[in-house]
Amino acid sequence: MGSPDEAGRATRRKFLQVAAGGAATAAGAGWLAACGGDSSGTTTAATTAAGGGEPKKGGTLRMGMIGGGQIESLNPNHYASSIDIPREQQIFEPLVTLDANLTEPVAGLAETFEHSADFKTWTFGLRQGVTWHDGKDFTPEDVMFNMRNWMNPKNDGYTQLGQYIKRVRKRDDHTVEMQLSTGIAFPYGQLGAPSFLIVQDGEKSFKNPAGTGPFKLDSFTPGQDSMMSRNENYWDSGKPLLDKLQIVSFNDTTAQYNALQAGKIDAMVDMPYAQAKAIKDGGGSGPIKLLITDQAGGAQFAMRVDVPPFNDLRVRQAMRLVCDRQAMVDTVFLGFGAVSNDLPGSAPLPYYDESLPQREQDIEKAKSLLKAAGKENITLTLHTTAARVGYVEAATLLAQQAKPAGINIKIKQEQVGSYFDPTQLAGKMTFSMETDQPFPSLPSSYLISMVSAAPFNSSHWKVPKFDELVTKGLAEDPKGDHPLWNQAQKMLYEEGGLLTWGHQNFVDGLSDKVQGIKPHKMNRLGNFDFRQVWMSA
C-alpha cells in the first residue's frame, strides 16, 4: 500500500492523463506494440502479430474515423472526405498499387503490367476469373470505362494521369493498352491512389455500387455508418478472413477514442498524439495497441512566391532558416514524426533526392538575408485553422522561432470551411499551412501540387523550366539515374515557396483483438487493407 501522498500523486497523475487527452487511458493501461521508423526510412510499426495465435475466419472489425457528414460518398472520381477512402478501397480495387514502402509495384486487378521502352505504352494483363459483386464478369470494357473517366477534366484522376492518356484500347479479352502522350515510368503511385479505383462499366450513381473488392456493401448512411460483408467470390481465395466490416463516422476525436477504450470499436484512425503518448509512456499491457507508420507526406508552410514579400527569394530562404524543425516535430507531433527538408516526400521513395543537405536553423544567416533584402523587422500574417490538429501549435511555434530573426508573425485563425475551399481562401493566402498526405509517389504529388497547372499549387510556384523538368522526368527510370528529378528538387530546395518542416506518423489505435494489420506508407491502418486481418478471441 502506498502512502497517502503517493496515492494522491497517482490520482493526480491519472487525472492529468485524462485531462491531457479526453478520457485517456485508465489505470495507466495501454501497450505500445512497437514504434518508429528505422533510419533507412522503411516502415516499421506495431507487430500486431504479437500473440493471437493462428489466423482464423470470422468476426467483425469495427473501425472508427472522423467523418464528413452528408458529404460522404462512395464515388472515387471525386474526393469528398477522407473516410470515403477506407470504404471505397474495400468495395473497389486498383489495377496496380504499391508495396508498403511505396517503392515496388504490386499487382491488383492487372496481373501483369508492361511498358514500352519509352514508357508511353502500357499494357495491362487483366486478372482472370474476377467477378463483380453483382455476378457480372470483370472485363476490359470496365477498365476502359475507368480510363475514360480519368481523361475527363472534371474527375480527380485527370491531373495525375488522365491528361496524359491519348488512347485506350482492348487488345484481347484480357488485355488493355493505354497510350500516353508522355512517357511515365512510375505510374504506380497514381494507379494505387483512391481516384484510380476500378468501378464497374457505366457506374454513375454510386449509391449501391458493385465492386470487385474483398467486401460487399450492405448498407451506407453518410455521416453515420457503413456495413459490409465478405465477398465470398473474391479472387484471392481464402480472403478476406473477416465476416463483416463496419466503418463508423465520428464527429469528435474524444468520442472516437472513448469508443475504442470501451470496446465499441476495434480500430480508430488518427489517435491524437496526446493519447498516443500516454499509451506509449504507460508501456503497460492494456487493451489498446498503437499502429505507428512512418509516412512520406509533409507538414508545411506555403509562401506565395508571386506576391510580396515572398516574391523575394531572400525572404523565403530566411523563413526556411528560422525554423527549428526538430523542435517542431517534438512539440507539434509529440515526437511522432521526423524532420523534412523543404521537399515533397522522403527517402526511400523513387526519385527522392537524399543528397541535398538537411536544412538547419540558422538565425544569423536569416537575419543577413533579410537585411540584404531590406526587410528587417518584417511583419507577416500566417493564416491557420484550429480545425486541423497541430496547425495552431505549429504556427505559434514558428512565430516564436522567427522572432529572434526580427520577423514578427501575426497568426490569423480562419474558418475550416473557407480555409480548405478553393473557391474561397485555399490557394489564395499569402502565407498558409497544409499537410501533403497521403503521399503515394513523387510524380503523383508533383502533378497535383507542384507544377504550374497543378490545382493545389499553394505556393504559386510556376516556373516553366521546372515544369519541363518534371514532365520530362516522368519518363526517367527510377531504377537508374534520374538527373531531371534531381534538378527539379534542387530548384525547389533552393528557390521554392514551401517550408516543409516535418512528416508526421500515422498513429492509429487498435484493440488487442485485431490481428494481421501491417503498416503501409500509403495510408492509415495499413492502407485500410483488411484482407488478411482477423480477430482473436
Binding site: A26, G69, Q70, Y79, A255, A262, P455
Partner: protein, 341 residues
C-alpha cells in the same frame, strides 16, 4: 355583466375567450417563425464555403465544374428568390431536398427521409431525460423551497449553482471520467447503427441521459424553489396556518398547487434547454440524433438541411410555448381572467 346582457343577440356573438387567446398566440407564433425563417436563411447564407465546391472536392479547383453544379443547385438565383422558394416548400409541409444529395447526383434526396431516424433517436433520448427530469426537478425544488435557509437547502442550491455554471460538454467529460474510466460502469459512447433501436443497449444511454438530467434539474429546481418560497410568503398561506390547518395540507393544497404555475414554465424551459443541450450531448457521446445530424449538415454546408432542421426546432419551440401558456391559463384561474381581458 355586459357579456350576459348581450348574450342572445347573434351579431354580438363572441368566441370563447380561450379560443381568442389561442388564436392570438398562434398568429404571434407564426409571425415568430417567419422572422426565424429569415434569420435562419440569412445565417446559412453566411456559412463559409459553398456546397458545390465541397461536394466537388479536389475538382473544386476547376471553376467550370463549380459553376455547372451551382447552376444545377440553383445557387445562381438571387438570395430573395432562393429564400422565397424555400419558404414556399416549407409552408407546404415539404422539408425539401438535401442540397448535398442533389449535388452528388441524386434526383431526389428528401430531408424528411434523412432526418426520420435521427429524429426518432433524439425524441427517445429527450423523452427519457424529461421523464426523469420533471419529477426530480419539482420534487427537489419543493423540498428545498420548504426548507429555505436551512443547511440542506444551502447545500443543494450551492451544488446546483455549480452545475448550472458547467457547460454540458464539461459535465459529460466528467461523467465519462467517473463512470467509465474510473468505475467502469457505463460505456462512454452511445453508438446506434442505422436501423437499430436506440434502446438496444440501454446502458449506453445512461451517461447522455444523466448529463441532460443533471443540468436540466439543476436549472429547474432553483426556479421551482424560488416559486415555492414566494408562495410561502403569501397572505393566504399565512392565513391558512393561522386557521390551524395541518401543515401537510397547507403544503399540498396551498403552496405546491400555487407553485405549480411556475413549474409549468420551468418544464417548458427544460424542454427548450433540452433542444440545445441535446445537440452537444449527442456529439460528445457520438449518438446519432438530430443534433449530430445538424452538426454534420453544417460541416457539409448542406444549407437546406440546416435550414429545415432549424425550422423544425423553431416550430417545436413555438408550439411548446403556446401549450405551456395554455396549461398555465387553465391551472391558475386568476391568470385566466387577466389574460382574457
Amino acid at each position: 355583466m355586459t357579456t350576459v346582457a348581450l348574450r342572445g343577440t347573434r351579431t354580438s356573438w363572441r368566441p370563447h375567450p380561450v379560443v381568442v387567446f389561442l388564436a392570438r398566440r398562434i398568429v404571434a407564433g407564426l409571425l415568430t417563425l417567419l422572422v426565424a425563417s429569415m434569420l435562419i436563411f440569412a445565417a446559412t447564407q453566411m456559412l463559409p464555403g459553398d456546397p458545390a465546391s465541397l461536394v466537388l472536392g479536389r475538382s473544386a479547383a476547376n471553376p467550370a465544374a463549380v459553376q455547372e453544379l451551382r447552376l444545377r443547385l440553383g445557387l445562381d438565383r438571387s438570395v430573395i428568390h432562393q429564400y422565397l422558394s424555400w419558404l414556399g416548400t416549407m409552408v407546404q409541409g415539404d422539408l425539401g431536398n438535401s442540397v448535398v444529395g442533389i449535388a452528388e447526383g441524386a434526383d431526389k434526396a428528401p430531408i424528411s427521409h434523412i432526418i426520420a431516424e435521427p429524429l426518432r433517436n433524439s425524441v427517445v433520448l429527450a423523452l427519457i431525460a424529461m421523464a426523469l427530469t420533471i419529477p426530480l426537478t419539482i420534487g427537489m425544488g419543493v423540498y428545498t423551497g420548504l426548507r429555505a435557509g436551512r443547511p440542506v437547502d444551502h447545500a443543494i442550491t450551492t451544488v446546483s449553482l455549480g452545475l448550472v455554471a458547467l457547460p454540458e460538454f464539461a459535465l459529460a467529460a466528467l461523467f465519462v471520467l467517473l463512470f467509465f474510466t474510473v468505475l467502469g460502469w457505463f460505456p462512454p459512447v452511445a453508438l446506434v447503427a442505422p436501423g437499430q433501436s436506440p434502446l438496444h443497449d440501454p446502458s449506453a444511454l445512461v451517461l447522455p441521459v444523466l448529463t441532460l438530467l443533471v443540468i436540466g434539474a439543476a436549472v429547474g429546481l432553483r426556479q421551482v424553489r424560488a416559486g415555492v418560497v414566494e408562495v410561502m410568503r403569501q397572505d393566504y398561506v399565512f392565513m391558512a396556518r393561522m386557521h390551524g390547518i395541518p401543515e401537510r395540507r397547507v403544503v399540498r393544497r396551498y403552496i405546491v398547487r400555487n407553485a405549480m404555475a411556475a413549474s409549468v414554465q420551468v418544464i417548458t424551459q427544460n424542454f427548450q434547454y433540452l433542444i440545445g443541450g441535446i445537440i452537444i450531448v449527442e456529439v460528445v457521446f457520438a449518438y446519432p440524433g438530430i443534433g449530430s445530424l445538424l452538426v454534420n449538415a453544417v460541416t457539409a454546408r448542406d444549407y437546406t438541411e440546416v435550414q429545415s432542421i432549424s425550422m423544425l426546432i423553431g416550430a417545436f419551440y413555438v408550439a411548446l410555448n403556446i401549450i405551456a401558456d395554455l396549461i398555465v391559463v387553465f391551472l391558475v384561474p386568476k391568470l385566466r381572467t387577466k389574460e382574457m381581458s
